[in-house]
């Protein structure tokens, strides 16, 4: 399959016809979805209307956007005007946002073609895409395995070769973990680098929209389009961001790269450990200096993460009460209307997290849980920033195992939560992190290498990711 860059060029050069390409692509959506259930809705009409506009743009002399003609799939928690946004939850049944998320506006402004909304774990809560009211999605590398979550649909669509680009959202690893499971590139940008306006919130202080792509260059291209200040998001960074695509080929000579020893302890699959060691060697060969670093508070990251994320989730999901939109249960008084609506509307995992979050915020337990988790979060952030003073990047595995079997962990939420063990720290600290494929295990399942960088230093992440990608080919 052509990369995003090649595809764009083919459209511009007239080597490939937009109309024919999309006719075929929209047909393929059905086939792929039949196998993978990675799409919640195919936005054919919107895609066709966009293609018609692009066609006339092609024949006129008007400037063409960076994503000209490129098909893209967005996770179904990103609001697309006049199209259902489900978050893979029954409670949002019938909800049609009258507005676009800021990232959607930016994609359209740069001439991308949105062709579908991707399946996901309900409200982005999960690590396997099995918590979807619209059914689980499958991993195209092995249909019996999970594509990862919660952006499993987006990652699967890219891995299946349906599209070169997709958007996911990453609260604790939800872009990087499925990217690793499916063998694609996934970036969790610096907190504040990409506007959250129009992203249905899970945990607002951790959520960040990120690109999933078939290759590093495409991911950089997509990141450059969606990043930048947005006056509609108060947490959106004011600073201007360096372009990630520009210096992509600058290599890693002179970069200091740290291996946090805590990330290579018990629980890590031996094949993955070996793969990351190999990645370190590649980077060294290309001129980087590899050092071991210590991040002793890493062991508290998952616990702190689930307290903070669930606390925010319990608050963010309070708005789904059946009063103004979505489905409403029939009841005889107000309280029953709320409880019945929420009982019928939310899945088990979402309910579990709402209850946990409500508990940790309640006045009697606030200090013991939420306040303490926030302190741990600050310590983790400081520790990581200090480490990143000494080195330019951290190199870690993305996941402790490769893609696990569907159903394997659904009965054990704690085991499921631990599949985010290497990714949550970057969210707690607001740091950018990328997962890039670096090989396969004995079962031919993809392995992801994770790089974590300094705030707003996505360009350096992409430089190193490009080296890993080139070396693994």
């Amino acid at each position: 399959m052509a990369t995003a860059l090649q595809l764009r060029q083919q459209f511009l050069d007239g080597e490939r016809n937009l109309g024919e390409y999309y006719h075929e692509l929209l047909n393929r959506c059905e086939d792929v979805n039949h196998r993978l259930n990675c799409l919640n809705v195919v936005t054919s009409e919107l895609a066709e209307a966009t293609v018609a506009q692009l066609h006339s743009k092609l024949t006129s002399g008007r400037p063409k956007g960076k994503l000209f003609g490129l098909p893209i799939i967005v996770k179904d928690n990103i609001c697309l005007k006049d199209h259902p946004t489900t978050c893979a939850s029954r409670i949002l049944n019938g909800f049609v946002p009258p507005y676009n998320a800021t990232v959607i506006d930016r994609l359209l402004a740069d001439d991308a073609v949105i062709i579908a909304k991707a399946n996901m774990d309900e409200f982005a809560m999960g690590s396997s895409n099995e918590n979807s009211a619209l059914g689980l999605a499958r991993n195209p590398r092995d249909l019996e395995r999970a594509p990862g979550g919660s952006s499993g649909g987006s990652a699967a669509a890219v891995a299946a070769g349906l599209v070169p680009l997709a958007l996911g959202s990453d609260t604790g690893g939800s872009v990087r973990q499925p990217a690793a499971f499916c063998g694609v590139v996934g970036l969790k940008p610096t907190y504040g680098a990409v506007s959250r306006y129009g992203l249905v919130a899970f945990a607002s202080s951790l959520d960040q929209i990120g690109p999933l792509a078939a290759d590093v260059h495409s991911a950089a291209l997509l990141f450059d389009v969606i990043a930048g200040h947005d006056s509609r998001d108060s947490t959106s960074a004011q600073q201007s961001l360096a372009g990630a695509e520009e210096n992509l080929k600058a290599g890693v000579r002179g970069l200091k790269i740290g291996l946090p020893r805590e990330y290579f302890a018990a629980g890590l699959d031996a094949e993955i450990a070996a793969a990351i060691t190999r990645v370190a060697d590649w980077l060294k060969r290309e001129g980087a200096e590899i050092r071991e670093v210590a991040l002793p508070h890493t062991k508290y990251a998952v616990a702190a993460y689930y307290v903070v994320a669930d606390a925010e989730a319990s608050s963010n999901l309070a708005r789904y009460d059946g009063v103004r939109y979505g489905q409403r249960a029939a009841a005889h008084d107000l309280l029953s209307m709320y409880t019945e609506t929420r009982h019928a509307g939310f899945g088990a995992e979402v309910k579990r997290r709402i209850m946990l979050g409500t508990y940790v915020l309640s006045s009697g337990y606030y200090d013991a849980y939420y306040a303490k988790a926030m302190k741990v979060r600050r310590v983790i952030m400081q520790e990581m920033l200090e480490a990143l003073n000494a080195v330019d990047l951290l190199l870690t595995p993305t996941t402790p195992t490769t893609a696990f079997k569907l159903g394997e962990k659904t009965e054990d939420p704690l085991a499921m939560y631990l599949s985010d063990i290497y990714t949550v720290s970057a969210n707690l600290a607001g740091l950018p992190a990328i997962s890039v494929p670096c090989g396969v295990d004995a079962a031919k399942l993809p392995i992801g290498a994770q790089l974590i960088g300094r705030p707003f230093d996505e360009p350096t992440l992409f430089r190193a990711a490009a080296v890993i990608e080139a070396s693994s080919r």
């Binding site: 949002l92 306006y197 607002s204 509609r232 108060s234 309070a318 309640s362």
Partner: protein, 480 residues
């Protein structure tokens, strides 16, 4: 046993910003239901709040005006509770780090200066309105979200208020301050200013607090005074009979002047506050505060003091004239054209206010602008016209927008000061009243006033009193 009341007031003031606190929707009162609503104030999925700087400026103005300290870093928190007209399931408010800490509100109580300290001032968004239409066969509720996100400033007093009268004066002073600052229209009927009161009683001399009740739904300053009086009497009656006051929330009914229980404490909420992750902490700078400080107008109580000390006005006059910023401005602009403060004050408090009352345009739209009134009063002060003619002129000016001089000329109201014009008239008055002339000449010089009066009557009040006096005196002496 003698009891004293312990009262703390929580006042919500709706800020006069053009748009809501976290979005661009209009705050105009009385719009069609649900017409001033956007994804942000509706709390639609994915929508995010962005803080309105104007609301911050207004809160800082208030904090500076009451000598509170501005929290350089304040934090917006979510106050979580379910309510049909609260679209997000939480209200964005400030909790442990409010924008204003401390401060005080001062007022005069029968010539005694008092002040009530403030605990805090914070910013928050208003909730929507549930409407329960009556006269329908089905039972249903309608929601109007226009008020969702309207900016409110909450001013919380220390429990230092000791009587309903003090509560009245405190609220009155607070209302005047927000009006003078131009940050709230002070309209309690429209809900721009809302008040909840915490009330308890204790035996005089006791320092421990009694069980308090919270009285809500107070929609006039007099209503607050009445409700507090009712509630204090109720609590005294309970305690005096040996019972205990139950901690509860009460609703005050204006119709019968009583308080009714709203909900008991079992339903009390655990709001599960958390810092709102959608809003970064509000960071103020010394520069920002200095800019607001420069825009700060003179406060009503300071103004009163100045009127009393510098203009020698009675306290009562000063209070009336500062009762609204518009009136104080009118007074001061009139004073610029006529320096007799007492004369200006008298005219404004009687002639002007009588006509402004009940007039929708208010003092700002009053037909006689301060400069014109000032010129009129200056003519009276310099005795160019008499007070009586002045009032006649004032009537004319209500309907006639021209300068007072033009009206004087047209209506022939200019005083007659020419001795040749007045001479013949005075001769006639003397000739018509021989008895009085004789008594005057016999030493009853007080009769001069009688002759002046006759001349005034003959001229319709236009005779210049000084010239008339002078001429009369000399003519009555001449004939001797």
């Amino acid at each position: 046993m003698n009891f004293e009341a312990v009262i703390g007031l929580e006042v919500h003031a709706q800020l006069l910003t053009k748009s809501k606190i976290f979005c661009g929707c209009s705050t105009t009162f009385g719009q069609r239901p649900n017409s001033a609503a956007c994804p942000v104030c509706l709390g639609l999925p994915g929508a995010l709040p962005v803080l309105n700087r104007e609301a911050v400026n207004m809160a800082v103005k208030m904090i500076l005006a009451v000598d509170g300290s501005v929290g350089m870093t304040s934090v917006f928190a979510r106050k979580n509770y379910f309510y049909p007209d609260l679209p997000k399931g939480y209200q964005i408010s400030q909790f442990d780090r409010p924008i204003g800490i401390g401060g005080r509100i001062a007022f005069e109580d029968n010539g005694v200066r008092k002040q009530i300290r403030l605990t805090r001032i914070h910013l928050e968004e208003d909730a929507g309105k549930s409407l329960h239409p009556e006269g329908h066969s089905e039972d249903f509720t309608r929601i109007d979200v226009n008020r969702c996100g309207v900016p409110l400033m909450e001013i919380v007093s220390e429990p230092e208020i000791r009587s309903p009268r003090e509560a009245y004066l405190y609220l009155h002073a607070l209302k005047q301050i927000v009006e003078h600052l131009g940050i709230c229209d002070g309209n309690m009927e429209e809900g721009s200013l809302r008040c909840d009161a915490n009330v308890s009683i204790r035996p005089v001399g006791e320092t421990k607090l009694g069980t308090k009740t919270e009285v809500k739904n107070l929609n006039s300053i007099r209503g607050v005074e009445k409700a507090l009086r009712y509630e204090i009497d109720r609590q005294i009656a309970i305690v005096s009979s040996g019972d205990r006051v139950e901690q509860q929330t009460l609703l005050y009914s204006d119709a019968d002047g009583r308080c009714y229980p709203m909900r008991s404490k079992e339903e009390s909420h655990d709001y599960r506050y958390l810092p709102d992750p959608d809003l970064v902490p509000l960071q103020l700078t010394p520069n920002w505060i200095a800019t607001v400080q420069r825009e700060l107008p003179e406060l009503p109580l300071n103004r009163q003091d100045r009127y009393v000390h510098d203009l020698a006005l009675p306290r009562y006059d000063a209070e009336v004239l500062t009762s609204s910023p518009g009136l104080a401005l009118y007074f001061e602009e009139t004073l610029a054209a006529c320096p007799d403060a007492k004369l200006v004050a008298n005219w404004i408090m009687t002639e002007v206010l009588a006509r402004v009352k009940g007039n929708a345009a208010g003092i700002a739209g009053f037909a006689v602008e301060p400069a014109r009134l000032g010129r009129l009063l200056e003519m009276i002060r310099s005795k160019a016209i008499t007070g009586k003619i002045g009032k006649e002129l004032f009537e004319c000016m209500l309907a006639d927008a021209r300068p007072v001089e033009a009206i004087v000329a047209e209506k022939g109201l200019a005083p007659i000061a020419d001795s040749s014009d007045l001479g013949g008239l005075i001769d006639k008055v003397i000739a018509d009243h021989p008895k009085e002339v004789a008594r005057y000449r016999a030493g009853q010089t007080k009769l001069l006033a009688f002759f002046v009066g006759q001349v005034m009557r003959a001229t319709g009040g236009r005779a210049d009193p000084a010239v008339t006096n002078e001429l009369l005196r000399s003519k009555l002496a001449q004939s001797e």
